[in-house]
């Protein structure tokens, strides 16, 4: 039995692997992107329903105690705290910038960017893909490349979009790169993703050194992101005299596991 079943299952394994790899190569083609996005959109309503169910279960569980109410209150306070911290950061940064740049920091009001509010309906299926799925797609004006934020700060970028859903690559994704400047020292650097915290590589400058507690905001360098979006606060900085850069850990203003609503900037075109 052993001798017969093993080659059979090995053959089936190889055949299924080959089929899936061919499928991957076909659906990776640019001409298949539309169909792929449409197929992926089909699961979005189910994910939204499941997310809704999770919310309802949270409410039901609150009948057995006030844990849920306290959690909601804590989330509200955290959101308010984040909003206040963002305002402080923006004000501090604005003090170092000229009037035009100050307007850039307050992009939502001064620049009047058009935004689409979207609900998070799902997250990446494993630790390797730090993505979010939202319930807005091309039918709502959402296109790949658009920037995604919350009231607290930058979330990421739309990776692919279907008619009624889109997948967002968050800053925590290992391949994510964002050019930033620091609110106090004005130093520039690049934030990269990671599973636990965002990593920042700060370029050395004669102007000064970075210190913990500084805020990192998008610099707009490279044209990938608009200038002035809050990314996070420097939790720790490691100075390296022998290197041309310092390393820092950034506490991201957004916790992707608990974001429920995001804003997609629909009129900023990354260069």
């Amino acid at each position: 039995m052993y001798g017969r079943s093993q080659p059979r299952s090995t053959g089936l394994f190889l055949a299924l692997c080959a089929t899936m790899l061919v499928l991957a190569m076909v659906t990776e083609q640019t001409w298949a992107e539309g169909a792929r996005g449409a197929v992926k959109s089909t699961l979005a309503p189910l994910e939204a329903a499941m997310t809704q169910l999770a919310g309802n279960l949270d409410r039901v569980s609150s009948a057995f105690g006030d844990v849920s109410a306290l959690r909601a209150e804590n989330q509200q306070l955290t959101a308010a705290d984040q909003a206040l911290r963002r305002q402080v950061v923006e004000l501090n940064a604005a003090a170092k910038e000229n009037a035009a740049l100050r307007q850039a920091l307050d992009f939502e009001r001064s620049y009047g960017h058009r935004m689409v509010a979207a609900q998070i309906v799902g997250r990446g299926p494993d630790g390797f893909s730090r993505t979010l799925e939202v319930d807005r797609g091309t039918a709502d004006g959402v296109q790949p490349g658009m920037i995604v934020t919350t009231g607290a700060g930058l979330v990421g970028r739309v990776q692919e979009a279907g008619p009624h859903g889109a997948i967002v690559q968050t800053l925590a994704d290992p391949q994510s790169r964002v050019n930033v400047f620091l609110s106090k020292s004005g130093l520039q650097g690049t934030v990269t993703g990671g599973p636990a915290a965002l990593q920042l590589e700060i370029e050395h400058s004669l102007a000064g050194t970075a210190s913990g507690g500084e805020w990192a905001l998008t610099s707009g360098v490279g044209g990938g992101y608009p200038r002035g979006l809050v990314v996070g606060e420097l939790a720790s900085v490691t100075h390296r005299d022998s290197s041309t850069s310092d390393q820092a850990v950034v506490a991201w203003v957004n916790d992707p596991a608990f974001i429920s609503l995001v804003l997609v900037i629909t009129d900023f075109v990354p260069s």
């Binding site: 039995m1 052993y2 079943s5 093993q6 059979r8 299952s9 090995t10 089936l12 394994f13 299924l16 692997c17 899936m20 790899l21 061919v22 499928l23 991957a24 190569m25 076909v26 659906t27 990776e28 792929r36 197929v39 992926k40 089909t42 699961l43 189910l46 994910e47 499941m50 997310t51 999770a54 309906v121 799902g122 997250r123 990446g124 299926p125 494993d126 630790g127 390797f128 893909s129 993505t131 799925e133 990776q159 692919e160 997948i167 690559q169 994704d173 290992p174 391949q175 994510s176 990671g194 599973p195 636990a196 992707p256 596991a257 608990f258």
Partner: protein, 166 residues
């Protein structure tokens, strides 16, 4: 009818994985419920069924991830195939073997997924980050395996009884 039930169950498991599971992240990893379910099916119903359901669950996961359809299916197939070896050659009743198989399959799943993503030009983490995630996910999935196995055996009990007489 049973196939329909398993398909429905897998859809529910994948939905839970992409909506609830990320809330219980430990060391950057969260449970891969689809992989655990596929291993449980392989353990209780055999490697061929395990691989068939791995394709279904993998394609469902691909629908929730960025990039083309297929990488998660290939990764789950590898996990099911490895578990199949375990099932054929070791004591099915022991609880230790499926737990170790879950940990090993998680490592194989992760390696194949990263490799497939790399070949397809999709984002892949650095080696250090990948190892950290693999270790955490392996422990997580192994811890969930006994519960999944009990459910899998219950769902496939008639099939298991037919396969046992030898």
């Amino acid at each position: 009818m049973k196939r329909l039930a398993i398909a429905g169950l897998l859809v529910a498991i994948v939905l839970v994985q992409v909506t609830w599971a990320p809330r219980i992240t430990v060391a950057g990893a969260f449970p891969n419920l689809a992989l655990v379910a596929v291993i449980a099916i392989t353990w209780s119903a055999g490697v061929r069924q395990g691989m068939a359901w791995a394709c279904v669950a993998g394609l469902l996961l691909d629908l929730t991830a960025d990039g083309p359809l297929g990488p998660h299916a290939v990764a789950l197939l590898a996990g099911a195939y490895l578990s199949g070896f375990w099932v054929r050659n070791l004591d099915r009743e022991s609880l230790l073997h499926p737990v170790i198989a879950a940990a090993a399959s998680t490592a194989i799943y992760s390696a194949v997924l990263v490799l497939a993503d790399d070949l397809l030009g999709l984002p892949v983490p650095s080696l250090g980050i990948a190892l950290q995630l693999v270790v955490a996910a392996s422990v997580y999935n192994a811890a969930l395996m006994p519960v999944a196995l009990a459910a899998g055996r219950k769902l496939h009990s008639p099939v298991t009884r037919r396969a046992e007489p030898v």
